[in-house]
């Protein structure tokens, strides 16, 4: 790393010790704008080149999510230790009239130091507002107890992890240490939200519901970069169905239903497909299929029972992380279903899925 990175677009450079004063001046200078904030939204990356992109993401997110945004990029490789800061505000017209703005503080931390990330976070929060922390990339050693104990909501994308097993272990430890206080939101899980809704919707059909205990086969086709989303969706199906995974190798598993029926499970990868391209669930005389073409904004859903087919359409999850984050923020909640699915998911992951 340690290349010179562009900071244009991050706003005004400021002394770190003068941030509060400079933000105050920023607001005092513009009486036509209203500073709104419902949360502290912190985005952390260990890739400094992401800093500008993250600022652009905040610009979009703040249209519907007023916040104090704190962007932190750490260049761990840098030999010299330094801390640079910038401030800016993202403004949007509300109802075509009033300008509603969200403030953003950006930091570039150079050189590795254990407590600096944590202390930078501690020092720049808006008090009494929830702290939503978007950790980009694997959980490094900087993901430490003093830091995560403070979080209300932790957003991450397990699709971006180079070592998912290690990061999931770290996540579970963090939840245990905080006695489950942190709400965790995995964007890979969010990617399957409308798939899960569609499955529930299709099996609401009384005939399909009758076939559910007789399911024999589950197939998921996904983009190879979204292995986690596919596995999470599969884990959800298994958990909600009460199935038991008997054996597995590579991307194939054998499970048994509560009635003892065998089910074959298969994951397929396609470089040209949407993140989650297809979910197929088959029972004798019943076939449920949910699919999405690449970049299409809708899911095609069909259920065929005893030769009668119904085709439906529904929204699909966003492809880009900011869209997924926005939908997570709009839903709130404790995300307890994800936690319920997580043990089974980790089991599949450890089995080599």
């Amino acid at each position: 790393m340690s290349d010179v990175i562009s900071t244009e677009g991050l706003g005004m450079p400021v002394e770190v010790g003068a941030i509060d004063g400079e933000l105050k001046k920023l607001w005092e200078a513009d009486e036509a704008s209203t500073n709104a904030s419902l949360m502290n939204f912190l985005v952390y990356t260990e890739d400094p080149k992401q800093l500008i992109k993250n600022s652009e993401t905040i610009q979009k997110l703040t249209r519907a999510n007023s916040c104090r945004a704190v962007l932190i990029a750490m260049d761990r490789e840098a030999k010299k230790s330094s801390l640079q800061a910038w401030i800016t505000a993202h403004c949007h017209l509300a109802h075509g009239k009033k300008s509603i703005c969200a403030e953003q503080i950006s930091f570039l931390l150079s050189g590795y130091s254990m407590g600096r990330l944590r202390n930078t976070v501690f020092a720049h929060l808006n008090s009494d507002l929830p702290l939503v922390f978007w950790w980009q990339g694997d959980f490094s050693d900087l993901f430490e107890e003093r830091l995560y104990r403070l979080l209300d909501r932790l957003i991450f994308d397990s699709a971006s992890w180079r070592d998912p097993k290690a990061s999931f272990r770290r996540l579970v430890e963090a939840r245990e240490e905080t006695k489950g206080e942190i709400v965790t939101q995995d964007l890979s899980w969010t990617r399957s939200y409308f798939y899960r809704l569609a499955v529930a919707r299709l099996f609401d059909d009384p005939k399909a519901q009758k076939s559910f205990p007789k399911l024999e086969e589950v197939k998921i086709k996904a983009h190879p970069d979204h292995r986690m989303a596919a596995l999470l969706l599969l884990s959800w199906v298994i958990t909600r169905s009460g199935w038991k995974v008997e054996s597995g190798q590579g991307d194939e598993w054998t499970a048994s239903s509560e009635e003892g029926n065998p089910i074959t499970i298969n994951l397929e990868w396609d470089e040209d497909a949407a993140p989650l391209a297809e979910l197929l669930m088959s029972a004798p005389g019943c076939k449920v299929r949910i699919s999405r073409e690449k970049e299409n904004l809708h899911l095609c859903q069909s259920v065929c029972v005893d030769g009668h087919c119904v085709d439906l359409s529904g929204p699909a999850d966003s492809d880009d992380p900011e869209g997924l984050v926005a939908s997570q923020l709009s839903r709130g909640g404790k995300n307890s279903l994800y936690l319920h699915v997580l043990p089974r998911f980790r089991e599949l992951l450890e089995m080599g899925g």
């Binding site: 770190v16 105050k24 005092e28 801390l83 202390n119 501690f122 008090s127 009494d128």
Partner: protein, 504 residues
């Protein structure tokens, strides 16, 4: 709250060459002059040991005022004020220096046609307090002048007001042997802050709060005083002898606690308010055994860390701090006020150096809603209501409540209603010292500590200090990295009650 009219007087500042005079007292007098609040005829006389001239003294004050004055520096206002600033050189122990001071004050009064009101401000190092007070008495300066018509002599004493109960009692004896209690003003600049004064207004001028201000509705109260500074500027020498408990908790934080916890006073006179405050301090449950201290008080020192991206040393490696120091730079206490109103409601108080940000705040944490409706849902409601009174730096009040997220499903998130003094009223609040100096000139001691308040506070503090320093099994010193929110032990202090420190 209205007050008597401030009267013209000569303000004599002992320790006039020090930081407090330059950074706080003179800028406060300057701002009062600029706002038209300073009574005409006020004369300022700096008393110190250094051999300075009037002119040299004024130049130094002007230079500093340009840097720190709340309202900026206006040459015209300064010229007017500077004409009334004088310097008097003397050792604090030199009786002759006080005799000369008396002559000079008389001369100033004659020249100006003033009747001879005197306000003595003792801002020197504490070891000189006794000498100054005794010499004032010997020079006849501490008594109302027999020939003056209704003129007065008052004394303002800066902290530390003693270092133990015994030394505070001794100092009180000396002060009361020199000045009458009604003329004694023990300054606690926190009480001069706008929001501290607003605590009473918030509680007693708003019908919605007072009915809920008790054990039935309040779960607990937190008082936090966080400093990001360490021992810069040589302050380690003083601090290492005092520690967080003596330096901040004994005075400022217990004063804030008493304002939050007191019963409504019968009236707004100085003694009406102070009678109620002292009852609170007297009702503090005493932590006087090693077991009770271990259970309710955490002390700590910071280790090396970083603040604002800068590496900072650990407490014991700070300038003028004993490398083997056993002085706390952080303290967290669980206080219990044993009154009918507060029975069973803990007051968690914490103060620390080298914490992530500078802030002094009081937060009132209300009880959760009953376990029906929303609270009966999985996960309950996100958080209880919290009323926050920000004392500094951004004075104001906020209230946290829960709100439904827009959408078709029922999801809740906390939101905050926020009131900032600076932006709401458009003018900056007066500095605490402005208000307090004016009150002393007006003879209003409401915002100053009374003898019994000081001594009761020391009684509470002494019990803890004695366990720390004189007990064989004193609780250990906790540690935390500089820039973090204090030691884990302090988190555990609340965790064992099922609570957490509020995130600032």
């Amino acid at each position: 709250m209205s007050r008597n009219l401030a009267e013209a007087c000569s303000v004599v500042i002992f320790g006039a060459t020090g930081d407090l005079t330059h950074r706080k007292l003179i800028p406060a007098l300057y701002n009062l002059a600029g706002d038209g609040e300073l009574p005409a005829g006020v004369q300022i006389l700096g008393f110190a040991r250094r051999d300075w001239s009037d002119e040299f003294f004024r130049e130094g004050l002007e230079k500093q005022n340009r840097k720190v004055s709340r309202t900026g520096h206006d040459d015209e206002i300064w010229e007017c004020l500077a004409a009334s600033i004088h310097y008097h050189q003397s050792e604090f122990q030199d009786e002759d220096g006080y005799r000369r001071l008396a002559e000079r004050l008389d001369e100033i009064d004659r020249e100006r046609g003033e009747k001879g009101n005197r306000l003595f401000y003792i801002a020197s190092a504490p070891e000189f307090f006794d000498d100054i007070l005794l010499n004032l008495k010997k020079a006849g300066l501490s008594q109302d002048r027999p020939d003056g018509e209704g003129c007065w002599s008052r004394v303002i004493v800066e902290k530390p007001f003693g270092t133990t109960l015994a030394t505070a009692q001794h100092l009180n004896e000396v002060v009361n042997g020199t000045f009458q209690e009604k003329d004694t003003y023990r300054i606690d600049h926190y009480l001069g802050k706008e929001t501290a004064q607003n605590i009473m207004v918030l509680r007693f001028a708003n019908a919605i709060f007072e009915p809920m201000w008790n054990k039935e509705h309040i779960d607990h109260i937190q008082i936090t005083c966080a400093e990001h500074l360490g021992m810069e500027g040589g302050r380690g020498g003083y601090y290492d002898k005092a520690g967080a408990l003596r330096d901040m908790v004994q005075n400022h934080l217990l004063q804030l606690l008493s304002l939050v916890a007191m019963e409504p006073p019968t009236d707004l006179t100085a003694d009406g308010v102070r009678d109620e405050k002292v009852k609170v301090i007297r009702s503090l449950r005493q932590w006087d055994t090693p077991e009770l201290v271990a259970e309710n008080v955490i002390r700590g020192q910071y280790l090396a860390g970083n603040i604002n991206g800068e590496e900072v040393p650990g407490y014991c490696a700070e300038d003028r701090v004993n490398p083997e120091s056993e002085t706390e730079a952080y303290v967290a206490l669980r206080c219990m006020v044993d009154t009918w109103r507060w029975s069973g409601v803990p007051f968690y108080v914490r103060m620390g150096k080298r914490l992530p940000k500078k802030a002094t705040e009081i937060s009132i944490h209300f009880k959760e809603t009953p376990s029906v409706l929303f609270n009966a849902m999985p996960g309950g409601v996100p958080a209880g209501n919290v009323l926050v009174i920000r004392i500094q730096p951004d004075e104001g009040i906020s209230l946290r409540m829960n709100s439904k997220l827009p959408g078709t499903t029922l999801r809740m998130e906390p939101v905050k209603m926020d009131f900032h003094y600076a932006s709401s009223f458009g003018t900056s609040s007066p500095e605490a010292y402005e208000r307090l100096l004016l009150d002393a000139m007006a003879g209003d001691a409401t915002l100053f500590a009374r003898r019994d308040e000081v001594e009761e506070a020391w009684r509470f503090i002494d019990n803890i200090e004695n366990v720390w320093h004189e007990s064989d099994n004193s609780p250990p010193m906790a540690e935390f990295p500089a820039g973090s929110w204090g030691p884990r032990e302090a988190d555990e202090l609340l965790a064992k009650d099922g609570r957490t420190w509020r995130r600032l």
